[in-house]
Amino acid sequence: MTEPMVRSAGVHKNFGRQEVLKGIDLEVQRGEVMCIIGPSGSGKSTFLRCINHLEKVDAGKLYVDGELVGYEQRGEKLYELRDNEVARKRAEIGMVFQRFNLFPHMTALENITEAPICVRGLDKKAAAERGRQLLARVGLEGREDAYPRQLSGGQQQRVAIARALAMDPKLMLFDEPTSALDPELVGEVLDVMHDLATEMQMTMVVVTHEIGFAREVGDALVFMDDGVIVEAGPPKDVIANPQHERTKAFLSKVL
């Protein structure tokens, strides 16, 4: 059996005295799209941020591609990784944010080429060439020189996806990628994500409120509430036939 892309065992996270994650156990297989749904404050975004170590795990173990996140185990001790080692691991995981977080002082193309040049040491011409291809892939050819503020929300989010793809990630994390978008722009972003899942077989963890997307594209669905996984399973089953009261109550509100 191959090692899953993400393996979480008893992951806990506290913010001050508040316990946000109370023991998360899950596995994301290679090439799988896992959608995490749940009410706001349920800890789903926090868990996602733990995967690339934007948040530190307080207890439990989290593995990406068989390697511990943020630490190295030598004998009986865990050694915290240095900044540049953490950075190197993050470079292999793409992340797309709710508020896009594009760099406003750079053009669309520069946003995409920045990390390949700065982190991977790619030469400028090759990076630009690849950047153009990626922009075309997300349906934005010809917008290379536009600054983020000259683009619509949906276009910005597609640039953000291209920016993450430029690092050839083995795993993509999406933190509510369509929540900040006007309703008519949601579709164009979901289309790109759909394309990633089906054409590129990208392993994806998607925190979302788009139940339709979870049902059609997701291979697994997790419902989180109050820092725990309440229910998990194939999306169609969970959505059509939820077992827990809390899942039923949540789905009845969002469907």
């Binding site: 934007l54 993050r90 992340m95 760099f103 002082h105 053009t107 920045e114 990390a115 600054y147």
Partner: protein
């Protein structure tokens, strides 16, 4: 681009246009304008007619070699002190935002001390330091030294001026740079880190370029203030612009004309700084607005009908608006 919105604005709404429109009258504005013009005319007349200002003396000394040397020295002092100040300020700002309490504490202490004492005191302090400190050496702390020197040979009027002004400026610039860094959204750092960028390159490539938008206007302020602050070095006898003027009027007693000469130079230098700041701000504003407004030069060219080739890219919609209506 944004041309859609622009054209909509230039086309007058159709409905009430059939009837003549009477604009609102502003009699108060006319009265105010007349008062201001009369006072201005009186002042201008006094400037020209009075003999007290002896303009011929002002002109005579304006390009006097001693005054020009003073101007050059003022510029050199300002530039070096500001370069030290900005570099030191950014380092101190990053230190203050460090998680290490010793490092951030040291930066806090530095800022506290250098902002808390008058610059004049600091200038005098550096100048008179050699009277109490007879030897400075570089080597292993509490161990052998490789190099040592007598401060008397290092501290001149010029180097004391640079030290006093530059180190003081660093403390002020630190707070300006810190404000700039804090103004950049947390999400920018997160996005850069998620891409695998290190802290240093995140700061250099992502945070600081955006912080510059907030840092530049107060830095322009500081530079202008520094230009005039350099006149304080008269206290340690360094001959910059004002000291030179003072020396001359001390000899000729033409106090007011020479002060006017110096003021004209200060105004000229400040005006040059305005232009520099304008273009610097424009550079760092790239991406901050959908379309940058045209520069004054572009505006004049557009009005004269030369705008076609000069205004390009993002500037085009706005500059065509100034000509009248978009040509298509």
């Amino acid at each position: 681009m944004s041309s859609g919105a622009e054209t909509a604005r230039t086309e007058p709404t159709a409905a009430p246009a059939d009837l003549p429109v009477v604009p609102v009258r502003h009699p108060g504005r006319w009265v105010g304008a007349v008062v201001v013009l009369v006072v201005a005319a009186m002042f201008a007349h006094w400037l020209v007619a009075t003999s007290a200002l002896s303009w011929n003396v002002v002109w005579h000394y304006l390009f006097d070699p001693a005054i020009l040397t003073g101007v050059r020295r003022t510029i050199v002092l300002t530039v070096i002190a500001m370069v030290i100040g900005v570099a030191l300020g950014i380092v101190l700002a990053v230190m203050r935002l460090s998680q290490n309490p010793i490092v951030s504490g040291a930066a806090w202490l530095y800022i506290w001390f250098f902002r808390g004492t008058p610059v004049l005191v600091q200038l005098l302090f550096w100048f008179f330091l050699p009277t109490v400190l007879h030897s400075v050496s570089v080597g292993v702390p509490f161990g052998p030294s490789w190099f040592h020197t007598d401060p008397k040979t290092v501290i001149t009027q010029f180097s004391a001026a640079i030290l006093g002004l530059g180190l003081n400026e660093g403390a002020y610039m630190a707070e300006i740079a810190r404000a700039g860094i804090l103004s950049v959204d947390e999400g920018q750092t997160e996005a850069a880190q998620a891409l695998g960028m290190t802290r240093l390159s995140t700061m250099r490539r992502i945070v600081l370029p955006q912080a510059m938008r907030v840092i530049i206007p107060p830095t322009g302020n500081e530079t202008i203030s520094m230009l005039k602050l350099t006149s304080l070095v008269f206290a340690i006898g360094y001959m910059e612009l004002l000291t030179t003027a003072q020396v001359i009027y001390g000899r000729t007693f033409q106090t007011i004309p020479l002060l006017i000469t110096a003021s004209l130079w200060y105004l000229t230098m400040t005006s040059v700084l305005y232009v520099g700041q304008y273009y610097l701000e424009r550079y760092f504003a790239r991406g901050a607005t959908r379309a940058l407004p045209p520069t004054p030069v572009q505006r004049v060219r557009a009005r004269l009908g030369l705008g076609g080739g000069a205004a390009k890219g993002a500037d085009l919609p706005t500059s065509t608006l100034l000509v009248g209506r978009p040509h298509r």
